[in-house]
Symmetry: C2
Subunit: 96 residues, 2 copies
């Protein structure tokens, strides 16, 4: 099991629309991708414009190959990419 953490920034006027969009993107695209385990959305307390997407995958390749190279990723970004102030930073973490 690995944890993907994507750090993004959302303009204040778009927070509500972003939350609606990402809920739809998770339901329609992410949750059906092989190896997907679960998703949680975190908002910064010290930096309310900052969000972290925590996505757990069975393996690293389930994200980097299975999801990112699929049409689901394109659809996922089509739904939520509009709201990103700048490109997200993404890293992977092992839990042990």
């Amino acid at each position: 099991m690995i944890l993907e953490i994507a750090c993004i920034e959302i303009a204040p006027e778009n927070h509500e629309a972003f939350r609606t969009a990402i809920a739809r993107a998770v339901e329609q695209e992410l949750s059906a991708s092989p190896g997907f385990i679960d998703f949680t959305l975190h908002q910064g307390i010290e930096r309310p414009e900052a969000y972290q997407l925590h996505i757990r995958w069975a393996t690293l390749e389930d994200h980097t190959v299975g999801f990112r190279e699929s049409a689901r990723f394109t659809a996922w970004r089509d739904i939520i990419g509009f709201f990103f102030v700048s490109p997200p930073s993404v890293e992977h973490w092992s839990t042990n």
Copy 2:
């Protein structure tokens, strides 16, 4: 419920000792602090020298006041602080 994320860096030669130390620090100090929910240790896949401590608390103040202003925090840092290459960066996140 809030999530504390502490980002730290550990020198390669100290990883094993750090893991032993933090397991002891969690058991002896952190887990007994009021409002503590759970702890997970994550190691970077792209940056193996990087660790993230994810600590869930019932409220923000359980961490910032209850833990940080207690003798338990001093003891916690006495056990693991030696291993930090630089001061940790700590932020809090709400999940909703």
